[in-house]
Structure formats: structure tokens, C-alpha cells
């Protein structure tokens, strides 16, 4: 049983995670300027990239990867469940309003 999340990994991996986060940010900026997708799909792509960045921050910087499985799964599943509920309630309705042409 540990109190502070002590682990044997080196500091090097945190620099790699930092670099990956900066690289993903650069990809997002590039996508924003290219406007490759329509707004609805652009939002989904950017949200997907944001979820990947958040997962890296939560797992490595917040050390959730090194906590016991119960804490990991309880936190991740509860927050993901809430966001899925919010997403599936609101986003289809937003798309419906767009198609109806209601302003």
C-alpha cells in the first residue's frame, strides 16, 4: 500500500508526454486553419484529439496510471459515463436544429 504514488519510471517519459501534447496541439491548430471538415465533424475531430490529450494528462501527469485499479476505474468510468450522457442528449439535437434551419 503506498501513500504518495511512488513509481520506478524515469522523468524522461514525462518529457515525451509533454512533447506529444505540444505536437497534438500543433495538429489541432493545423486542422483549425485547414478547415478540412464541416463544423459538426470538425468539432468531433477536435473533441477526439482533446480526449487523447486529456487521457495523457490524467494518466501520466496526474499519475492515475499508477493508482490502484479500483480508483482508476471508478473515476474514469463515472466521468466518461457523464460525458457520454451529455453528448448523446445534446449533440444530435444540435444537428437536428441545424438541419431544420432554426436560428
Amino acid at each position: 500500500m503506498h501513500d504518495v504514488a511512488i513509481h520506478d519510471d524515469s522523468k524522461g517519459q514525462y518529457f515525451w508526454v509533454w512533447g506529444a501534447l505540444l505536437a497534438l496541439t500543433a495538429v489541432e491548430v493545423w486542422l483549425g486553419y485547414r478547415q478540412i471538415f464541416q463544423p459538426v465533424h470538425m468539432l468531433e475531430v477536435l473533441l477526439g484529439l482533446s480526449v487523447v490529450k486529456s487521457a495523457l494528462i490524467i494518466a501520466y501527469f496526474m499519475h492515475l496510471k499508477f493508482e490502484i485499479a479500483l480508483m482508476r476505474w471508478l473515476l474514469v468510468c463515472s466521468v466518461v459515463a457523464c460525458f457520454i450522457i451529455m453528448y448523446f442528449f445534446f449533440f444530435p439535437d444540435a444537428g437536428r436544429i441545424l438541419r431544420l434551419g432554426v436560428h
Binding site: 494528462i57 501527469f61 496526474m62 493508482e67 439535437d93 441545424l98
Partner: protein, 257 residues
Amino acid sequence: MADATLEHNAVGHGIPGAYEAPLFGAYSKKVGMWLFLASDSLTFGALLVAFSYNRISNPAWPTPFAVESITNASIMTACLLSSSLTMVLAVFAAQRKDRAWTRNWLLATMAFGTAFIVLHGREWTHLIHEGMTPFTNPWAPSVPQFGGTFFTLTGMHMLHVTIGVIYLGVIALRKKFLPILAALWIAGYFLIPTDSVFHYGIHVLGIGLIVATVILFLKPKDYDAHDVEVSGLYWHFVDLVWMFIFPLVYLMSTKIV
């Protein structure tokens, strides 16, 4: 009920007595902070979903953020990501009981956080000078909610960053931070022009000063690795929220010439 308890050596507290095994394998301060962050993530989640809903369902949504704004926001993102890295290094230093480097990395984290706030304040001032208010905007009069959603979302986040910087200052410097915070508050009040929204917004530092004073005098303690780790959790959460705000607010409203 010996099988339901652990000897104190097993949990490493060094305090005589037997303790029950913690449910989540972590000390109570950490569990408490995770619970708070879970609730705060729902607050930001609701704001982000409401913003996204407005953005998708409104084809006339303005796109006012030109290259300068996106560059500014990208630098702000880099500042926050770098501050998360320095926060991790502060936690490592605290774990090996290196007080000097714990303080140094915490101060570096605060510096990046302050840079973020200053850049964001400049962005707000620029948009307000262009005519944006919580109720109107000059780019799309048919979308009055653009200003309100922008200022609410980014203002809420800026408030969290400000509180985070004060929190880290208390952990890093303890009572020595109080006169620094007081000086920043007073200097900000007199130096920021009265027509700027931050002339009144600077009073957040005054409220922070009162709360920090009460905490530091009511419960003086030597902050240890646990406290640094818990403050780090809050700081990373603030960074995490910006990972959603930056693309949704700025990149979805980029001015493409």
C-alpha cells in the same frame, strides 16, 4: 477484526496504532481532491457542452479569431503544458525531500500560470476594445450569445488558474507569500486602468489573500510531499480543462482569410 486492519508500518505513516486499509489505496487528502475534481469536471463539462451545442446549432456563429489571437492562444496552451511538466518535477522533488527544488519548480509553475493569465487578460482587453460584451458582438449581431458564452467559459477557467497560482504560492512560500500577494493586489488595482474589467477583477487576489491568511494562521503546517502532490492534481486539472476550451472556443471560430 484484525484482518480488517493493517499495522501502521504497512501504511507507512510512522504513527503508532493500527489503521484500516484505505479503500482507494491513497491517503484521504488525495481522494478528497479527486472527488472535488470530479465535481468540477461536471461544472466545466456542462459549460462546454452548452457552448458546443450553441456552436453547432448556429450556422451564423462568428469567427473573429485571426492569426494574432490563435498565436496568442497557442502560446497560452504551451505555457500551461509546460507548467504541468514543472509541476510533475516539483512533485518528484518533494518526494525526495528536496525543499529547494520543490520551491523552485513550484515557482516555475506559478510563472507559467501567471504568463497564461497575463496573455489571456490581453486577449480579453483586445476583444472588449473591438466591441465585444457579454450580450453583443460586432461580428454577428444575430448571435448575441457569443460574448456571454466566451466570457463565461474562459472567465471561469481564468478564475481557476488564478486560484491555482495562489494555491501553489501558499504551498511553495507559506507565510512569505502573503505580502507578495498583497503587493500584487494593490499594485494591480492602482496600475490597471479604471476602464479595464481587470481593474475590478484584481480583487480576486484580495479574496485569495484573505483566505490564504486564514488558512496559514489557523492551521500553520510544513507542507509535505502529500500536499504538493494534491496541489499538483488541481493544477493538472486546470490544464486539462484548457485542452477542451482551446479547440472548441478558439479553433472552431478561426478567421480564415
